[in-house]
């Protein structure tokens, strides 16, 4: 082995405390970044996942002004001929009032979000039906799925109960209809229909006197990376219909923008953590250099050049960086694996969408390796300034 590398290794490994301290500093720096990524990126991706699955799809089509008046059937059929499209389904929404008599008491709730779905298509394009924990999804013109939060607000409505829905139609007339509750929807994190009443889209159209309107088409792709392509293809094919097509990221931009700047801030904190690891390494390396004053003098006296001394201590930085990056990445991956396998969530909220971002993982490892070397530069330089006469010191 190269004698400078061997010396670097021995000097480091014979100072176990310092070595472990330095490695720990790098490890913790990396771990913080991994944990931040798992939690915050995981939360972000989980929200995008649920918004995609429940409300928007990979691509969502809406109208520039208000409602899509083109036949939903023809639009869906047209879309489903695109090879990347798995399924598509129309949605219509409104706000209404609900009355329910529970235990002899009349409870009224106003401004309730009402969603109309096409039961047959919806279960293919969206997974929101899976959030129906109790009962079944909407299956007929007079059944309703209630969000669990809403059901609670209405005094604990149960499956099988009868509820009254009051809407104002497009002509300003009040429309009333009774429904039987067929199921209760509850999603971790509340991204699903937890606050809404879900009914058959044709029922909603009838009540609103909008026989063929939809306000969005939710498109599910078999390859999410083709979202932009599908969007562009659609807009190109319907240039004169005032359609708006957006990918899920675009459609939920408002909801996600704040979150993204939060992630950026958290990442910044992570990098500050790395910086403090670097300072820890500077301190530890200074200690190592100070502890080797005489040895450095001896090496110089038997002919080692300043450059050789510099290289020895930079090698030490590289060893610290390499082991630290290895251990840090390993523990980080361990945590990521654990989070993924256990479908980690916080307080019963939505399960984190954990991914292995290999580019970021290797970037982080490389960065901390380089940082350990950079942190060693000043102590190494100090080592080269020690004079050969130091070898003569008797203490």
């Amino acid at each position: 082995m190269e004698y400078r590398l061997r010396l670097a290794k021995r000097m480091l490994f014979n100072k176990k405390g310092s070595l472990i301290g330095a490695i720990l500093a790098v490890t913790i720096g990396i771990l913080v970044i991994h944990v931040n990524f798992v939690i915050f990126q995981g939360l972000y991706d989980a929200i995008v996942r649920d918004v995609t699955d429940y409300n928007i799809g990979n691509v969502q089509i809406t109208d520039k002004i208000d409602y899509i008046e083109k036949s939903d059937l023809s639009l869906v059929n047209w879309l489903e001929r695109i090879p990347y499209v798995e399924a598509a389904t129309p949605r219509l929404s409104a706000h209404g009032e609900m009355d329910v008599v529970t235990n002899g008491m009349l409870i009224e709730e106003a401004r309730i979000p009402v969603v109309g779905v096409d039961p047959f298509r919806d279960i293919r394009a969206s997974t929101v039906h899976e959030t129906v924990a109790d009962g079944t999804y909407v299956f007929s013109r007079n059944t309703m799925v209630l969000g669990s939060v809403l059901a609670e607000d209405l005094g604990g409505v149960q499956v099988g109960d009868s509820v009254k829905l009051i809407l104002i139609d497009r002509w300003g007339q009040e429309q009333t209809k009774r429904f039987t509750v067929s199921g209760l929807a509850e999603s971790p994190g509340g991204q699903g229909f937890d606050y809404s009443a879900v009914i058959h889209i044709d029922t909603l159209r009838d009540m609103l006197k909008r026989p063929s309107s939809s306000d969005s088409i939710l498109i599910r792709l078999n390859d999410p990376s083709k979202a932009l392509e599908v969007k562009d293809f659609f807009l190109l094919s319907f240039p004169n219909d005032d359609f708006v097509a957006q990918t899920v990221e675009e459609a939920s931009e408002k909801q996600l923008a704040g979150f993204r700047s939060g992630i950026a801030l958290i990442n910044l904190i992570g990098y500050f953590g790395m910086m403090s690891s670097a300072f820890a390494i500077v301190t530890i390396q200074m200690m190592l250099v100070n502890g080797k004053t005489k040895e450095i003098g001896v090496m110089r006296s038997i002919g080692a050049r300043r450059k050789d001394i510099l290289i020895i201590f930079i090698f030490q930085g590289m060893i610290i960086g390499a082991i630290g990056a290895g251990v840090g990445t390993a523990t980080g991956l361990g945590y990521t694996f654990y989070a993924k396998e256990t479908k980690m969530s916080f307080n019963g909220s939505l399960a984190l969408e954990v991914t292995y971002n290999w580019e970021k993982i290797s970037q982080t490892a490389l960065l901390s390796f380089l940082l350990a070397i950079v942190a060693s530069l000043y102590p190494s330089y100090r080592a080269t300034r020690l004079l050969p006469v130091e070898a003569m010191r008797t203490v």
Binding site: N14, E295, I302, G303, P388, V389, A391
Partner: protein, 227 residues
């Protein structure tokens, strides 16, 4: 061949100067054993450090094998130390992180030239350490460490070997053996040995004795000082 001329070393700031060496001049022929003697604080170590290029003189010149070493830059001095000079310190100054053999090999490795471990092993055999070569340097006795240091000082076949009180830290029996070793090595290798010592009697016959007194050098080339 070593020529020292007008060598002066002043330590400390202007208002508190110590003139450790004052216009010292002498020369030593190749292959000689020279002792530097004198009372404590007289400037012996200072002189040896200057010759060993461990420190720079304030004034004056040191020529080694015709090269004026005071004109060399730091890199050239390092190379010069590595190839031309060998050091034996009062405390053995082995690198505690390396084994005995690795310590002896170090000057060879620093030189960047091709080498074999055989030379080092042979030298370790010559100083009587062949059974200790793979021990860590901080796990051997003081006398053994000093032998290893001698081997390290000789491995690059330097033209001058400098020793500052090489027996100063050893008991009398061990120091006698070390002196014997140094003298026999010197005879065998035709190298110049410059040795700072407090007890010249130990060394018996030598080629030259330089006495330092208050930073000035006096030479007596007679060799009647025998044990």
């Amino acid at each position: 061949m070593l020529e020292v001329s007008g060598l002066t070393k002043i330590y400390g700031p202007k208002d508190n100067q110590v003139r450790a060496l004052d216009e010292v001049s002498f020369s030593i022929e190749q292959g000689e054993i020279a002792l530097i003697v004198g009372s404590s604080g007289s400037g012996k170590s200072t002189l040896l450090n200057m010759i060993g290029l461990l420190d720079r003189p304030t004034k004056g010149h040191i020529r080694i094998d015709g090269v004026d070493t005071t004109t060399l830059n730091d890199g050239a001095i390092s190379t010069f130390r590595n190839r031309k000079l060998g050091f034996i310190f009062q405390f053995s100054n082995l690198l505690s992180d390396l084994s005995v053999l690795e310590n002896v090999l170090l000057p060879l490795q620093i030189s960047g030239r091709d080498y074999t471990e055989e030379d080092a092993k042979e030298l370790l055999r010559a100083v009587g350490l062949d059974d200790q070569i793979s021990k860590r340097a901080n796990k051997i006795s003081g006398g053994q460490a000093q032998r290893a240091a001698i081997a390290r000082g000789l491995i690059n076949k330097p033209s001058i070997v400098l020793a500052d009180e090489p027996t100063g830290n050893l008991d009398s029996l061990t120091s006698e053996k070390i002196v014997e070793l140094i003298k026999s090595m010197a005879k065998r290798l035709n190298q110049t040995f410059i040795i700072v010592t407090h007890d010249r009697e130990h060394f018996g016959d030598v080629d030259r004795i330089i006495t330092i007194k208050d930073g000035k050098a006096f030479q007596d080339e007679q060799m009647e000082i025998t044990a």
